[in-house]
């Protein structure tokens, strides 16, 4: 089975994630889509690592997970705080600032 397929899958996931960011309103879901994109990246890394036969890619994948985790911490903190002050997690409600 050709590893290229894993790449296609990665790309697909990435695209789905991006699309999700664009269409979903709930900040949490939007953020999950971003996470999906990151994981797509991970898949790509691992695949490439496999193809090139060196471990860098896999190591990077670990790093990415850590970073993603950190992002989750910060992100959720912010989203929760805004949810508490607005009683809504919809990103479309947050447009005091425009133009």
């Amino acid at each position: 089975m050709n590893p290229a397929n894993y790449l296609y899958l990665a790309a697909l996931l990435f695209t789905i994630g991006a699309a999700g960011v664009l269409i979903r309103r709930n900040a949490i879901v939007v953020f999950m889509c971003v996470e999906l994109m990151l994981n797509a990246c991970n898949l790509a890394f691992v695949t490439f690592s496999r193809m090139h036969g060196n471990l860098d890619g896999q190591v990077i994948a670990f790093f990415t997970m850590v970073v993603a985790a950190a992002e989750v911490v910060v992100g959720l903190a912010i989203i929760v705080s805004i949810f508490r002050s607005r009683h809504s997690a919809s990103v479309d409600d947050a447009n005091l600032m425009k133009l």
Binding site: G17, F31, I78
Partner: protein, 552 residues
């Protein structure tokens, strides 16, 4: 771990077998040469401990002291390294190829540290807001987690809470920014990016006034930031896929075809799409940080919503770090590909200059105005980036140094003009400021003129430097576009001056708060740098010139 141990069982599933991978070498770190960064991170960690263990009363003093000392020390370290010649002759790559210690890195790190130092002053300012329950308060929320206007917040204010965490956050951000322009492999680049972005996201959410806007800005910044870093990461993945390595030199050598070819490499380099798309996406990730059109849209909202000291710091330092990284990427990794990315960057530079200037024309809020102007300036700097030669690098370095201090100063002035609702950022409120307090208005006018690039200010010197580099790099059309858009830009800077000096002051106009020495120092430094770099830029140009060489 040992990959070879489990290798066969896994491999049996695979059609293509990869050779056994080599062992990890034991890492060795040149601590001395990384000392600036390490100091900053160390201080940041200490700051956390301070938050944990010191009584609330003494935290503020401790944190400010720590931050100032730490940054000063880090800067001293930078100077020492530069003295030792790490900027020029002994420039090399440290930490097993993760971080570069060379001219541009040191210059930019120095700039960032100074900017941060001044920013700390504005962070620490406690005289501007009216006293709450008899206590001086800074421009940060009493308790970030508390619901705006809720009982909890009122309680927090009564109790005299203050978010002194901002200082460690600031330090972490600074640490990330120090690595960002020095990062010598894509992974470090990505990690550094996140390390300085995440604290910024939080800082944005911590405004004392207009907390809703503050939180909104944080959300926007965070989501878009994460979105963009996803692109960056995917780009990295593709580049890794193309070159089989993430180290700059490695990728460069693969692109030049000087790397020793493995069969895997041979197959992957077959298809340039990986390289090109990867290159494009990484660039996009960086362009987002510098706020280039069309990746600029977060800028105005975030600049407006964030606490003004944070905005000032972000506007100045983030640009420096991001442009540093961009320069290194383009000059170290991709010089062999200039024919691919140069035209694209041309386009980006042009739209950035023009759109930034044009939209700013109709802005009505000082902070948004400055945001758009920063976009336009990003365009000007890109013009310098595109000139692929030494003068290009040094001109950009100089421009960044000049620009960052003007920006910092300008936002510091913005914090002074206040009315009942906090800072009066709506332009109409600034009418007649020149009569109320000529000095403040004059200072702001100086910054505006510097932005507009009027001769005898640092803005002019910087603009001339980058345009000169661009012209010598054969990008005369870019220069002309730049010139035209600076003419447009001049219009809205002038508009503010007109407002301040030529229109009658409003009866209920805002008052100009008398700042503590902290902010005064920040502003004074801004003015000083603006004037000195305007009148006698030669020394700094030489500095930037010496620092203009990347290590490969």
């Amino acid at each position: 771990m040992s990959a070879s141990a489990i290798a066969p069982s896994v491999h049996s599933l695979w059609t293509t077998a990869a050779p056994a991978t080599e062992k990890f070498p034991t890492p060795h770190i040149e601590y001395a040469q990384l000392s600036p960064t390490l100091i900053v991170f160390g201080v940041a960690a200490l700051g956390v401990l301070v938050e944990a263990f010191l009584p609330r009363k003494s935290r503020y003093t401790a944190q400010v002291g720590l931050a100032v000392v730490g940054l000063a020390a880090a800067f001293a370290a930078i100077v020492a390294l530069a003295e030792k010649g790490y900027g020029t002759t002994k420039a090399h790559i440290a930490a097993m190829g993760a971080v570069a210690v060379d001219g541009p890195a040191l210059f930019l790190q120095g700039t960032i540290l100074l900017v941060a130092l001044v920013a700390v002053f504005t962070f620490a300012e406690r005289r501007l807001d009216p006293k709450a329950h008899g206590r001086h308060v800074d421009s940060f929320a009493a308790q970030g987690s508390a619901v705006p206007g809720g009982d909890q917040e009122r309680a927090a204010v009564r109790a005299g809470f203050t978010t002194t965490e901002v200082f460690p956050l600031l330090m972490f951000a600074v640490g990330g920014m120090l690595i960002f322009p020095a990062a010598n492999d894509l992974l470090t680049l990505f990690v550094a990016l996140e390390v300085f972005s995440l604290p910024l996201y939080i800082l944005c959410a911590l405004a004392r006034r207009n907390r809703l806007m503050s939180q909104e800005s944080a959300v926007k910044y965070f989501l878009l930031g994460a979105f963009s870093s996803a692109f960056l990461l995917f780009g990295i993945a593709l580049l890794y896929g193309y070159a089989g390595t993430v180290s700059y030199s490695g990728i460069a050598s693969v692109i030049d075809g000087t790397a020793k070819t493995t069969p895997a490499l041979a197959s992957s380099t077959q298809n340039d799409a990986l390289l090109l798309i990867g290159l494009a996406m990484v660039t996009v990730g960086l362009l987002f940080k510098v706020g280039a059109v069309p990746f600029h849209m977060w800028t105005p909202d975030v600049y407006q919503g964030a606490p003004t000291p944070v905005t000032g710091f972000m506007a100045a330092a983030t640009k420096v770090a991001a442009f540093g990284a961009l320069l290194r990427l383009l000059y170290v990794v991709l010089p062999g590909m200039r024919w691919d990315w140069r035209p694209v960057m041309w386009g980006v530079a042009i739209v950035t200059m023009v759109i930034g200037a044009v939209i700013a024309v109709t802005q009505t809020d000082v902070k948004r105005l400055l945001a758009y102007s920063s976009i336009a300036h990003a365009g000007f700097i890109l013009a310098g980036v595109i000139a692929i030669d030494k003068s290009g690098v040094s001109s950009v370095l100089f421009y960044l140094a000049a620009y960052s201090f003007v920006t910092l100063g300008a936002f510091a002035v913005v914090t002074l003009v206040r009315d009942a609702g906090g800072e009066a950022t709506h332009l109409s409120r600034w009418a007649g400021l020149g009569r109320r307090s000529p000095l403040v208005a004059a200072v702001f006018a100086v910054f505006l003129l510097a932005f507009a690039g009027i001769p005898l200010t640092s803005g002019f010197a910087g603009k001339f430097a980058v345009f000169k580099a661009a012209a010598q790099g054969g990008a005369m059309p870019l220069v002309i576009v730049g010139v035209i858009s600076s003419a447009i830009a001049a219009f809205f800077y002038i508009r503010v001056i007109v407002l301040m000096f030529f229109s009658e002051p409003k009866a209920d106009g805002p008052s100009v708060a008398v700042p503590s020495p902290l902010t005064s120092t920040a502003i004074a430094v801004g003015v000083a740098v603006t004037v000195v770099l305007g009148l006698a830029p030669q020394y700094f140009l030489d500095l930037a010139d010496k620092a203009g060489v990347f290590v490969r």
